[in-house]
Symmetry: C2
Subunit: 321 residues, 2 copies
């Protein structure tokens, strides 16, 4: 209605300095009037930039991921990007489909704790730039938590309390983090380690292991995440095994539920929000640089939070029957 060519309208929004102030104002006024906003999808057709990022997680209900998501979304917003989140339900098949669908609708994808094989990820990478969180992949940008040293710290804590027979509840198959934790635990000398898994990384997964843990000859447990640890504690308690006097339990993640459950959960805190922010930074860097991009690696520190689910081993109760 302002009687100008579409290209002028276009420039008003994407290159304001190229259009006369007065014309621009007229266009803006008309746009305001008609409630017009440039169509991002159409723009993406020619520019190749959607100004959207995709974020894929295995389980949106896992509080660890929620915080990562919040960090990523808030940070992306400050860079005029939007983050679309999708949940794979721990299903590698769904994960792959999701990436392919997302590929053309976003400028880059944050892949968090993928369950896919490295090979498939390498292939998908041709379709869209990636930053992989919680998995080390050569030649790609990664955001990692130093979960190995977190696990070692947790086990050192158990050892310092006198525990030497320790169980490790592994996470899901395909999880890099789970492998990392397992390797770290195995590398600790002088302990007797039993590994259970792979398991579903949920409260239910922990609950299901209660009997096995109770009948195994262990006094300390490190779980793949807090959800499992909480489930385990619940299970042990209902079996009449007290935490921490009979078994000490350490989780990983530091989610709210761990702080309010009783006993309060000792855990390895993961900087989820920071990871989300960092991942967005690396991804935008990658997107901006195009083909020439150098993959970057960020490793974030973890730290042990000692609460009430761990305590000194009681030797007298653990003599032979």
């Amino acid at each position: 209605m302002s009687g100008v060519h579409v290209s002028t309208v276009s420039r008003t929004f994407s290159a304001p300095h190229l259009v006369n102030t007065e014309t621009r104002n007229r266009v803006l006024a008309a746009a305001e009037d008609l409630g017009y906003r440039p169509n991002r999808a159409a723009r993406a057709l020619t520019t190749g930039r959607t100004h959207n990022l995709g974020l894929i997680v295995a389980d949106i209900a896992n509080p660890f991921f929620s915080h990562l998501i919040k960090g990523a979304q808030a940070h992306a917003r400050t860079r005029d990007y939007h983050v679309f989140v999708a949940d794979t339900d721990e299903d590698p098949q769904v994960e792959e489909e999701l990436i392919q669908t997302l590929a053309k609708q976003v400028d880059g994808v944050l892949l968090c704790s993928p369950r896919l094989s490295n090979r498939v990820i390498e292939k998908l990478r041709e379709d869209v730039p990636f930053v992989v969180v919680n998995r080390r992949m050569k030649g790609m940008s990664n955001v990692l938590m130093d979960v190995g040293s977190g696990a070692r710290e947790a086990i050192a804590h158990l050892v310092s309390l006198g525990h030497s027979r320790i169980a490790l509840l592994a996470g899901p198959a395909g999880s890099w983090t789970s492998k990392e934790i397992t390797d770290a635990a195995r590398s600790v000398p002088g302990i007797d380690l039993t590994v259970f898994g792979p398991n579903s990384p949920t409260e239910h997964g922990g609950l299901a292991l209660a009997e096995a843990v109770a009948s195994a000859d262990v006094t300390g447990v490190l779980a793949y995440n807090d959800l499992m640890a909480i489930g385990l504690v619940e299970g042990l308690t209902s079996l009449g095994v007290d935490v921490p006097t009979q078994v000490s339990v350490v989780g990983i993640d530091d989610i709210v539920a761990g702080r309010v459950s009783r006993p309060k959960l000792t855990t390895v805190a993961m900087p989820a929000e920071a990871a989300g922010r960092t991942a967005v930074d690396l991804l935008l860097q990658l997107v901006g640089a195009g083909e020439t991009a150098t993959p970057a690696l960020a490793t974030l520190a973890t730290n042990l939070i000692i609460r009430d689910s761990t305590g000194p081993v009681r030797h007298e109760l653990r003599t032979d029957p």
Copy 2:
């Protein structure tokens, strides 16, 4: 490479019956070979259908929403739709921007527990079809939880335990659910109700109210959600007020943290996953029907789950000083 016109390729994917079986196979083979997939965004330009839905929540870290999201995503997937989730951080401003950006990239939006005013929502509605969850809006499709009767049931439970001086911890300003709960509570005869709020619907929000609740002359509390209830219990406990012997607390939502916190939280369960599924159904119905759509209303039942955070009032302790 298969030597056919683009339009034939297009038809191979969007109208297979129009193309010769043999040609189709050749195209599909070539596509497979080149890793070609139709660009959804480009398709959307002409068809007006992106096959994407947007889902907007106030706080993705709230477990109630996580389950709603999972329900919606899983259900949408079976209809060949994808759901993009975005978090507003409880900020109406962000909520509005998000809707506008999403508007052209999705076929419809699920707006969950909006903080925006009805007026603004009515306006935004011209840009994109909506289904509003947890808010009654005339002329629009809604998915509601019968939170009013849930609240009445919760209060009846408290009354049956002998409580009559009851506190209500309201939710955030602008929340329809909060208003609904408050109205329901006020409509219960024979109790002495104190309303606190509006409050931040988080653990921290509940924690912050502990002192006020402790010094108010109440023996029963109904909180806007479990997160607040958990925070309140934490706060009361650290003030030396025991739950449930001195104060009984009821939450709303039935999140995991409530089941593992001690005492286990009595709560009004909300069918979050079902709500997500239902909302997707209504939205697709709306999208399919275009302008002629009749708005639908779905109300889902809630139910009281009695656990350990509520108990009989102890009259002897509550005599005057």
